[in-house]
């Protein structure tokens, strides 16, 4: 018997093993199920392991046997618990959706089914994607596979931990303010938040509809590029999906990036750790050595992206989450009359952070405050977007750290504002609707990974992949 090394498989490595018949789809799936059963009780990355995927496994194997395989045929992946997979439970890690079964497939699942990829399980997250540590899940926190006393980041802590503990080849998640990139950085992997409108949101449980993006968590930049190219498609079921022909008009024809911008004042934030500062400087020198020109740029209102976000997001979330009323989905806590049923169901079904944000959203949208908060935040959002577009006339990409430091410890950020500030560097991309990637680069003095963020203009994801690979090659 040949003992095969299945550790840290990338998509193309798994593809080769499957295509050369060195391994079957079932053996690969069983391998990852074994890893999950060994590690999940400690890490708590998965909420559910899918055991009823025999038809998918057989179909994938047949595609390979007939030589009709596609890039992802037979490749096992994990899903964040807010992406609908027909006939499977989906809860956004909330008690209020306990027992809810998806009635249709999300568009991204349709894309991956077409490829013959194998969903292996659904993974933990902060409830309704509100959080930066996965501590706010109804299913208990997920731990960082590299150091279980640290958080994996959030809100996609489950999918990031699933990839980092090598229990799948890649994961699909959502990013509203950094929910893919920050956990990627904390877990030492790659996370991509695509351009808003590039990947359909159909079948994603909404948090902030003008900010939510679906993207991949992967082991390498190349894998992120492969997944992006498959899920990047127009979909009429999402009214904000941008038709392909309009994307080319919007983005400049792709050329090899040459100039890298650094928003110097922003990245000199006093909260940034000395480890991160040193790693960032080293990343910059790698780019200089590789022949890139570094330019200091100004995006005057970039630092206001976070306060803008904490007005727009709660406003949109309070509206999106109004549908969870104990009548149509999930659980119901009975009251004397309908109003009391709503109040009890939502009071008991939603966790603390979700209640806090819905009430904040209700406040910023209420009569007398709407214009000074929501109106002003929306205007500032347009201004920040314009400032980014202007910056991209001078440079091809922008780099920043992904976070101010490595993964923090459980309970370390108990104050809500302290937790919110962990999205400082990631949120501007969501505010402007532009794509950004986090690539693992450098370590803290405790040996925990750090991430560098690369940001490009609308629909210029290709530039992110070029630069991401430069960093990876020079680790």
């Amino acid at each position: 018997m040949i003992i095969m090394n299945l550790e840290n498989l990338t998509i193309l490595q798994a593809r080769n093993l499957l295509d050369n018949k060195q391994i079957t789809v079932r053996t690969l799936v069983d391998h990852y199920r074994r890893v999950i059963s060994e590690k999940n009780h400690e890490i708590n990355a998965y909420i559910e392991i899918f055991t009823n995927t025999d038809a998918e496994i057989d179909r994938a194997q047949k595609m390979i046997d007939k030589g009709e395989q596609k890039t992802l045929t037979g490749i096992p992946y994990a899903l964040k618990d807010n992406i609908l997979y027909k006939d499977h439970q989906v809860t956004s890690a909330s008690k209020i959706l306990e027992g809810y079964v998806a009635s249709y497939d999300s568009h991204v699942i349709e894309c991956l089914k077409e490829e013959g990829a194998i969903p292996i399980g659904r993974t933990n997250m902060d409830e309704f994607a509100m959080g930066s540590s996965t501590e706010y899940s109804a299913y208990g926190p997920t731990k960082n596979p590299l150091d279980a006393s640290c958080v994996p980041g959030g809100s996609s802590g489950g999918p990031a931990a699933a990839v980092a503990m090598d229990s799948c080849v890649f994961a699909l998640a959502s990013d509203t303010a950094g929910s893919i990139r920050q956990p990627a950085s904390f877990c030492g992997i790659v996370g991509l938040c695509p351009t808003y409108g590039a990947v359909s949101r159909s079948g994603l449980i909404s948090l902030g509809s003008s900010l939510d993006c679906i993207g991949p968590l992967t082991k390498t930049t190349e894998d992120a590029q492969i997944i992006y190219n498959i899920i990047n498609a127009y979909d009429y079921m999402d009214s904000t999906s941008v038709p392909l022909e309009k994307r080319n008009m919007q983005s400049r024809a792709f050329h090899k990036p040459k100039k890298i911008g650094i928003p110097r004042e922003f990245v000199n934030d006093p909260g940034i750790s000395s480890d991160m500062k040193a790693s960032f400087d080293r990343a910059v020198s790698i780019f200089i050595d590789a022949g890139y020109e570094i330019v200091d740029i100004e995006i005057p209102h970039i630092a206001l992206s976070l306060p803008v976000y904490y007005i727009i997001l709660p406003a949109e979330a309070s509206s999106n989450l109004a549908r969870f009323d104990g009548v149509r989905y999930g659980i119901r806590e009975k009251g004397e009359d309908l109003l009391e049923t709503y109040i009890k169901t939502r009071g008991e079904g939603f966790g603390k952070e979700v209640r806090r944000r819905i009430i904040l959203g209700t406040y910023v949208l209420s009569a007398g405050y709407r214009d000074s908060y929501y109106g002003q935040a929306t205007r500032l959002r347009s201004l920040i977007r314009e400032e980014f577009i202007n910056a991209f006339k001078k440079v091809d990409v922008i780099i920043t750290p992904t976070t101010s430091g490595g993964a923090f410890r459980f309970g370390e950020k108990s104050d809500p504002v302290a937790m919110y500030i962990s999205d400082l560097f990631t949120v501007p991309a969501n505010i402007a609707g532009i794509p950004a990637i986090s690539v693992s680069f450098g370590k803290t003095k405790d040996g925990m990974p750090l991430g560098m963020q690369i940001i490009a203009s609308h629909f210029n994801e290709d530039a992110l992949f070029v630069l991401g690979k430069v960093l990876e090659d020079n680790k």
Binding site: G197, V327, E336, L338, R355, V364, A377
Partner: protein, 107 residues
């Protein structure tokens, strides 16, 4: 300045029940969060009409679906999804969602 009464009113508006202890905590949390987001008011912005705030965040033109009949309106046969959606209801009876009474309580 957020008062406990404000928080009570917001909870009714948002249809969320909270305990007395949480009300106190929430009052101080909201105070802190609002103090943080207050920064947005420091920037003088043109009046709303002067900026195109409704355009798509990644597009310079409005690409939202036009208000016309979609060509797939026949794609879903009558009642195709009724059962699957009914299955998600926490309480149902004879094809209807059952809820508590709406009127006549406390009178």
């Amino acid at each position: 300045m957020i008062t406990r009464q404000d928080v009570d009113n917001l909870c009714v508006l948002a249809r969320i029940g909270i305990s007395d202890a949480e009300r106190d905590e929430l009052t101080s949390d909201l105070e802190k969060i609002l103090e943080y987001v207050e920064q947005v008011k420091s920037v003088t912005m043109p009046a709303e009409g002067d900026m195109n705030i409704s355009k798509h965040i990644s597009q310079d033109e409005n690409i939202l679906t036009k208000n016309v009949t979609r060509d797939d309106t026949d794609a879903y046969p009558f009642k195709k999804y009724t059962d699957v959606i009914m299955n998600a209801l926490p309480d149902k009876s004879d094809g209807y969602a059952r809820v508590q009474r709406v009127l006549g309580v406390g009178e």
